[in-house]
């Protein structure tokens, strides 16, 4: 077996056999599923609770405006004074009292409507009540001016523009949303992977320094081989852990949703509500499947793999360099920031700029800068990026990786043998010249 294989094997086995690694592998998906289930369960509870609102309508104009919904029941109080109604509401189970006084002029009415309750009502509840009143007042005002409200309703047109590329590929707003989800998941996954396993590499470099074995190892193998061995070994352990996580999460969520009837994925249904305006759920599923088919799947998967590997290697070599430069983990802080900044920047640019304009100048520039390109480009690809741009970005990424490995191994060579010396940026620049 050659050196690199030996090192990879040792790093892998060392990680995988580590007790805390094993515990994390099995515990974190459990915790994650539990939290999601709990949140889903709680929000279901929240939805099931029905609020009652009393209405005292002295104007008599809103008799049909308030209809019971799933979460709110409206009770109309009649033939009592406002003070009596307030007292009755306060002592009853009802959440609050909506008071609409008698008003001869419609314009004055809106100013004198009051909602009484124990605490402050939620914004969404107030908005829904206000909307109902506004709608009714609008109709009344139209009638007052002699316009038939029904006619206006009929004249309203709903426009749903079709989106189509020049090559005739049909797409839709739903598709755009799906692309965002795909890109977002890919970018976020990379982000998580880099943070978790980059740190792990850094710690294993520091461990060799603090246990003082490094000089023994380094008299047998070249630092760059040790560096690469560490990165690959830890990565393999990471992939193993990720795979176990996915399997456990999938298993647990199916088990839980079938046993308790709670669907952990219900939490993620919100974006779908925003995207899909059709209420028919079967129609949505059909649309989603069609849109997924429309996505450049093979391109997406291949590029995901390449950008994931490239981005991860780039960052992990930087993490290894940090590990070599310091003596213990507390000293890593000052070097962590410049690494985390571009990573977080990539995520922000991805989620905000790409969402806004996937092919705008900002999105384009950031999809070439190697420290942000893995995240940003992965988010852009579902929207259709010319192949030459993807390849150019990849070439830049891997060229930079070569550069950082060289840079990291330089720091590594010198840094791993420096004990007790607190590394500063100036010190590290000096090391590069050794």
């Amino acid at each position: 077996m050659n050196h690199l294989q030996l090192i990879i094997k040792r790093e892998y086995l060392n990680k995988v056999r580590n007790k805390s690694f094993i515990i994390m592998t099995f515990l974190s998906p459990l915790i994650m599923v539990l939290i999601f289930t709990l949140v889903a369960y709680l929000s279901q509870l929240n939805n099931e609770a029905v609020t009652t609102i009393n209405i005292l309508d002295e104007s008599g104009l809103f008799t049909n405006s308030f209809k019971d919904s799933e979460s709110v029941n409206y009770t109309t109080l009649e033939n009592i004074s406002i003070n009596e109604a307030k007292l009755a509401t306060e002592t009853s189970e009802a959440y609050g009292l909506l008071y609409i006084p008698k008003a001869p002029v419609l314009d004055n009415l809106s100013e004198s409507i009051t909602f009484y309750s124990e605490g402050s009502p939620s914004i969404s509840m107030m908005r829904s009540i206000e909307n109902k009143i506004e709608g009714r007042v609008n109709v009344l005002k139209l009638e007052e001016s002699g316009i038939d409200a029904k006619q206006i309703e009929e004249l309203r047109i709903n426009i749903d523009a079709k989106i189509e590329t020049f090559k005739g590929k049909k797409t839709s707003k739903l598709g755009a949303g799906l692309k965002l989800i795909f890109g977002g998941i890919a970018g976020y996954l990379l982000f998580m992977f880099i943070i978790i396993y980059g740190n792990m590499i850094m710690r294993s470099v520091i461990e060799e320094k603090t246990s003082r074995i490094i000089e023994i190892i380094i008299s047998s193998v070249k630092p760059i081989k040790l560096l690469l061995g560490k990165i690959f070994g830890t990565t393999l352990a990471g992939v193993t852990q990720f795979a176990v996580w996915i399997v456990i999460i999938m298993f647990l969520s199916t088990a839980i949703s079938s046993i308790f009837g709670i669907d952990p994925s219900a939490i993620q249904s919100q974006p779908q509500e925003i995207l899909g305006e059709t209420s028919n759920s079967q129609q949505i599923i059909k649309d989603v499947l069609v849109e997924i088919n429309n996505l450049p799947i093979s391109n997406l998967i291949i590029m995901f793999i390449f950008f994931f590997i490239g981005g991860y290697l780039l960052y992990s070599s930087l993490y290894a360099a940090i590990g070599a430069a310091v003596d213990n983990e507390t000293d890593t802080q000052q070097f962590m920031l410049p690494i985390l900044m571009p990573l977080i920047l990539g995520i922000y640019v991805g989620f905000f700029t790409v969402m806004d304009n996937p092919h705008g100048i900002v999105s384009q520039v950031f999809s070439y800068i190697p420290l942000t390109s893995p995240v940003v480009m992965l988010m852009r690809i579902p929207f259709g990026v010319p192949l030459w741009q993807q390849i150019l970005s990849l070439v830049i990424l891997f060229a930079t990786f070569m550069g950082t490995v060289w840079f990291a191994s330089k720091i590594y060579r010198v840094g791993i043998l420096m004990y007790g010396k607190k590394a500063s940026y100036r010190e590290i620049i000096k090391w590069l010249k050794y």
Partner: protein, 312 residues
């Protein structure tokens, strides 16, 4: 070819700091070579260059007459001063790993490991983790790691630190046995008595420069000052002091003795011989102690470093 390792004008700088300045060394085959010098003199840098951990800025290192090659790592066994092992790894697994990194095959490594563990009586440590061992026990494992691949050249940097006297002796005997079997040993330490005991050759490095090297015996000869320790029961105790003072460069001293005698340190002038001194001394009294003062490595070390300090 009598020298296993030759360093030619090796220089190395770290930034503006010159760690080694044109250092040349010759380490004869089969010798124990003491590499001495005060802290920060450049010994560790030189050792790291020999191990190809760092590269020299200029100069070259020859091993067996050929320039150092990356493959030579299997010909060198190195026990660094800053040493340790993976704390959470099992002893057997760890030594196997390190041996394989040195180029041994799995079966070879296992075979030799069994031999050494047997020899040092540490068979039952195989499945222990390093963190369960004491410092001295871990040092033994490190020693095994250093010698397991049977290198031509062994480099020990402070090998006895952390050992109790019994284990230090055990390791010393093992080193001498390996030397007898043909290995060449470079030995860096601040414990001068072990240099005295073990080294055939020494080199002294101070402030990045080599200031002294050669066979220990030759160096001692060069450093001896023709001074003798003398114990004498004089015929005339009252005048002995004046007489000796007048004839020689004599200083009264005190050393442990069972005799009732006057004790002196006498430096012999260049022209006269030892016999002259003995003849004269016996003529003025009963000579009970006569010993040439041979400088110890410790004396040589301190004297040379101090001279070097004054010169610069």
């Amino acid at each position: 070819m009598n020298n296993l390792l030759v360093a030619n004008n090796v220089s190395k700088s770290f930034g503006s700091f010159k760690a080694l300045n044109n250092v040349s060394l010759e380490v004869p085959k089969g010798s124990v070579f003491g590499l001495l010098g005060p802290n920060g003199a450049g010994k560790t840098t030189l050792i790291r260059i020999i191990n190809q951990i760092t590269m020299p800025d200029s100069g070259s290192i020859l091993l067996d007459g050929k320039p150092l090659h990356p493959n030579d790592i299997k010909n060198i066994g190195y026990l660094p001063e800053e040493r340790g092992l993976y704390k959470s790894m099992k002893v057997g697994e760890q030594v196997m790993y390190l041996a394989q990194l040195k180029g041994l095959s799995k079966t070879e490594a296992k075979e030799r490991l069994n031999y050494w563990f047997d020899r040092l009586g540490i068979d039952d440590w195989w499945n222990k983790k390093i963190q369960e061992l004491s410092k001295g026990m871990a040092q033994k494992i490190q020693f095994v790691v250093t010698v397991l691949h049977q290198p031509k050249l062994l480099i020990f940097d402070e090998p006895f630190s952390g050992f109790d006297p019994i284990n230090a002796n055990l390791i010393k005997d093992e080193i001498l046995r390996l030397k007898k079997e043909g290995a060449t040993v470079i030995f860096s330490t601040h414990r001068m008595e072990s240099v005295e005991e073990m080294c055939d050759h020494i080199a002294l490095i101070d402030k990045s420069n080599k200031i002294l090297d050669g066979k220990l015996i030759d160096i001692k000869r060069a450093y001896k000052s023709n001074t003798f320790k003398v114990g004498i029961a004089p015929n005339n105790p009252d005048t002995i002091h004046a007489i000796l003072k007048e004839k020689f460069d004599a200083v009264p001293i005190c050393f442990k003795s069972i005799n009732n005698e006057k004790q002196y340190k006498i430096k012999l002038p260049e022209a006269s011989s030892t016999n002259d001194l003995v003849t004269y001394l016996t003529s003025i009294g009963q000579l009970s102690h006569f010993e040439e003062l041979i400088p110890s490595v410790n004396d040589i070390f301190i004297e040379t470093i101090q001279n070097n300090y004054e010169a610069s």
